[in-house]
Symmetry: C3
Subunit: 145 residues, 3 copies
């Protein structure tokens, strides 16, 4: 059990993506660890959120087989198909919205002793479902420095 | 990259709903923007959470075709049907619990420069799956003012 | 509408689990209420996150029929089966990863007046999908004391 008291500090950065493929999963953990170090927050939260509605942030395993399993599973549960109503607007990416809803677009990560306080196998990923354009992720840290 | 330091401020409000229909999706963004302004928090988080287990809060597109797609998709993945075990208690809303779990009941939104720091197309919605009764949503803001 | 201003306080504890069964759902609410009391935080957030990628934290009903419905539903949407690619590594738990993604591994809970500010029926659960080993959950509280 540990406690800290003091002034609160916030620290905000944005990550930019421009993936060549429509769907892609990008590891974020090393970049996030650097942002946490720059923030000088010793205890608090690191919030990571896609600023788009066709991309997700999730925490799971850095294992290529499982990453492929996750993508196939998303395709089963939220398949790309022509006949979504959203496509009457001229869009063709309704499945990307549903996949993003399923994985969720944001995570909160704990910071303890100035570092992300993650389990051994927890890695943070950006999941792009409608790439080939510029996308943004906000990282906002708040805590005691 | 921006940082702020100071005293922390919290601000809490509750939203009330009494939807006439069993299922309904309600846009929250304008109300949330007003609460953020009233909080006078310049940098921090705006947490929005349904206080019920048959309603969700989600972030996605304000486009009626997509909203209909999301509702049909939820019905496919978490269908209303008579034979849930939960219905042995006299309830008939097990599907509403499952739909709420799928979309998740809470979101955290970043606040930067005194405003919700959202992407162009990000809108916040309250998703009711078992309405026709009084429901509550908590909005709790924390940050530097 | 309530507001508070002051120094920020953080408080961190870890919960440990070693479930005998592979799948199990464990009620966390009483333990979390004790941690919130020990934290002496009067207004803020209580963040609860599994530190593993085959377990989830979720908020819903303490009703055994519904808990069984949730488990069956997870099995339908993320079935245990031999032919996941992840199993080529020697693992056999790909479905546990998918079930954890579906329910999400973390929740944020509001604290008001020194207590978890939950709706009448909201209970917090740890959902184990690959037990029979030691697992950890982090509880990190931040707010005004």
């Amino acid at each position: 059990m540990t406690s800290m008291t003091g002034a609160v500090k916030t620290h905000t950065e944005y990550l930019f993506f421009h993936n060549k493929k429509r769907r892609e999963i990008v590891l974020l953990t090393p970049q996030l660890e650097q942002i946490v170090a720059r923030s000088e927050v010793r205890d608090g939260f690191c919030f990571v959120s896609a600023m788009h509605i066709t991309a997700a942030i999730y925490v799971n395993d850095l294992e290529n087989g499982l990453i492929a399993d996750i993508q196939e599973w998303l395709e089963e549960l939220a398949p790309a198909r022509p006949n979504y109503r959203h496509h009457q607007t001229g869009e063709d990416n309704a499945d990307a919205h549903l996949k993003a809803l399923l994985l969720h677009h944001e995570v909160t990560l704990p910071i303890t002793d100035g570092r992300l306080d993650l389990g051994t196998w927890q890695q943070i990923f950006y999941a792009e479902f409608d790439g080939q354009r510029r996308k943004r992720v906000i990282v906002k840290i708040m805590g005691v420095s």
